[in-house]
């Protein structure tokens, strides 16, 4: 089975993301990359936990004064839903239904964008309302770095998915691009995995003090 082959419903394999050797390599390599990302985020979480509420002066804002539940809840719901929509996209990919895949990916991107928008609003809010900035304390540095790294991952994921969608819009599915879509969706899920820990460890644990 070659990557360039023109596929039909009948010839489309059960696991198009692993049908060629290149695809298998990409699939495995990407999972390993996620293993490394786990350590990366763990280090950021560890630093955040070590520096949480470590501020130079008593008048500096602390985690429990900062976070608001409705906003975080909304962001969480949006990101969780986007995880489901990208699962839908992969479902249609496996069924060789390119149009529907594109549609669900599009919805995923919209959800991702709104998440990012809320995050930018949130940061802006902290900076202007609470004077809680990247430079105002070690707590600030650790918070913005951890959440910002996640935000950067979201942004990168969005660029990735969008460029895949545009590039392949006219070409349909092939064994050459199926693994690309698949790894992009893995990445998107992984971003959600990290967010689950962020909303738990940073926001919820921050609110209980």
């Amino acid at each position: 089975m070659h990557a360039e082959e023109k596929m039909t419903h009948e010839t489309w394999p059960a696991s198009p993301e692993k049908a060629t050797l290149e695809a298998k390599n990409k699939f495995l390599g990407f999972w390993f990359f996620l293993g490394g990302e786990t350590v990366l985020f763990a280090s950021l979480f560890a630093t955040y936990l070590a520096l949480k509420d470590k501020v130079p002066t008593a008048d500096h804002v602390l985690a429990k004064d900062l976070f608001e539940m409705p906003l975080v809840f909304l962001m969480t719901m949006i990101l969780l839903t986007s995880s489901l929509t990208s699962v839908y996209a992969m479902y249609h990919m496996k069924n060789f239904n390119f149009k529907k895949m594109q549609l669900w990916l599009g919805i995923t991107v919209l959800l991702g964008l709104s998440f990012l928008g809320l995050e930018i609003y949130e940061f802006n809010h902290y900076v202007h309302e609470f004077h809680h900035t990247f430079s105002s304390s070690a707590f600030g540095s650790a918070f913005y770095t951890l959440v910002g790294f996640h935000g950067a991952h979201v942004a990168f994921g969005l660029c990735w998915i969008v460029s895949l969608m545009i590039r392949n819009a006219k070409r349909g599915l092939s064994l050459y691009n199926a693994p690309k879509f698949y790894t992009a969706s893995l990445y998107w899920h992984y971003i959600d995995v990290v967010w689950v820990f962020i909303f738990t460890v940073v926001y919820l644990m921050g609110m209980v003090g």
């Binding site: 390993f32 350590v39 304390s137 070690a138 540095s141």
Partner: protein, 623 residues
Amino acid sequence: MSTNAQKKGFGAVLWDYLTTVDHKKIAILYLIAGGIFFILGGLEAMIIRIQLAIPDNNFVSAGFYNEVLTMHGTTMIFLAAMPLLFAFMNAVVPLQIGARDVAFPFLNSLGFWLFFFGGVFLNLSWFLGGAPDAGWTSYASLSLASEGHGIDFYSLGLQISGFGTLIAGINFLVTIINMRAPGMTYMRMPLFTWTTFVASALILFAFPALTVGIFFLTFDRLFGSNFFDPTMGGNTVIWEHLFWIFGHPEVYILILPAFGIFSDIISTFSRKRLFGYSSMVFATVLIGFLGFMVWAHHMFTTGLGPIANAIFAVATMAIAVPTGIKIFNWLFTMWGGSIKFTTPMLYAVAFVPSFVMGGVTGVMLAAAPADYQYHDSYFVVAHFHYVIIGGVVLSLLAATHFYWPKMFGTMLNEFLGKITFWLFLIGFHLTFFIQHFLGLMGMPRRIFTFLPNQGLEIGNLVSSIGAFFMAVATIILLINIVITSVKNVKVGNDPWGDGRTLEWAIASPPPYYNFKQLPLVRGLDPYWIEKMEGKKEMTPAEPLGDIHMPNGSFIPFMISLGLFIAAFGAMYRLDYGWGLPVLIIGLVITFGSMFVRSIKDDHGYHIHKEELMDDDDNKGVKA
């Protein structure tokens, strides 16, 4: 593209190497770049030993000395030892498992160029206001206090080359899992492949911690964050932890492939299969695993408290067990064997007792209360040089001689090789053995001078004399390389005559597509098995067919160049107006190149069956 080496102009060769994705050519790039950095690091070492030859010396100034010692450590670890190991991994591992190439040829090239540009960036510090001067560990309070841009060169340079290393690690992991030839099960893989596998896994999990630590350092120095500033709530011990969570596995990233190289050499020149192969594999994996549990033994004197110190002391001692297993397995591989003392074998033989010395001092260091005395003294300097030179560098020299014919098709001169060996070995022990005692006699490490009448004169002088032996040995090796390359006497598949593993079943150097037909592997040491049955080459596992090859690409070079430019922008952003635009331009080059890569389809090309058969006719006679 033709398979036959044709006379090409310099420009064409250069372009070929700038765009190559062939693991064998990338290996040569790693060898050259790593070799140059090794010589640089060696020169820095010589400056250190000249300065310390006599008390109160003023060969170099105190500030410059700190730059030299920092760059010596950083260069040797990140820019010499690791890339040189990558050179041999690239050259040998795909052949050992019978693969066409690595899993990600494009990323392989990207990994090299990232390392290269990171290394160049770091070394440009010498000309742009001074090198980093806070030691290769760059502990946060000192590295934040350090003036000028030295530390920024360190953090940005290592960040760039660190990405390269991470990519290389993932690449080897996937290659070894997915690309093995038919019959090459995990428990038939040569030890060098196994150790490459485990070391790559360590890279995957260790480097992210360094990445994060370096980000913090960069942010603190250049972007106003406060991770390590205690007055703002920060904490310098976070750096120490992150650095050593990376740094300790890093030691195993270096030493495990060295173990692999020596395992293969010892078994080859003893004409015996490796004694206790399965326990060797098990020990390798165990060392890799334990390597993540012990980092705080570098921090016994930081003040973590007795509970942490006791736990990490005992965990550290545990590593001695699998290492001991390895030592005895090597000895018993030679036991009952038929040992031929070629140059690589001399290194392997010398490695065993040298490394035992480094290993036992390692156990001594693990005893936390005694470590309060050893820590940051010359005892530690002696210990890790015994491990890194007695282990890693000896393995690199051995591999250079052992794999030279496979990489270049010519044999290094054995006589000169043996001279190099003896000078290097004597010089090594002369330099470092006495340093154990210097440390115990109260000499701290990283001091630019020492005062007379403290009992430290003789030891330091002896040590400096030893260093000259090693320098001369390196020069002779270079002469050997030049002579060999000029003579250019070609050799066959198995120039040592004792080859056991798959790489010796293929021409030296191998054709660019490696094995024409994937070989069928019927056991451990597959080539040896075939030879014992009187065959000259491997039985193919597939009929002759078209071979799919990746296209060369200039994009890896551009991606790395972009980061290199961006790093200058990031560093000078606060000093000059042009900093920010340069930072942006650099990032645009990088991400633009990545974008081009992702939207341009690259299906590679096929070498057709007929072409391969022609090739046979041309080259068949020679092998």
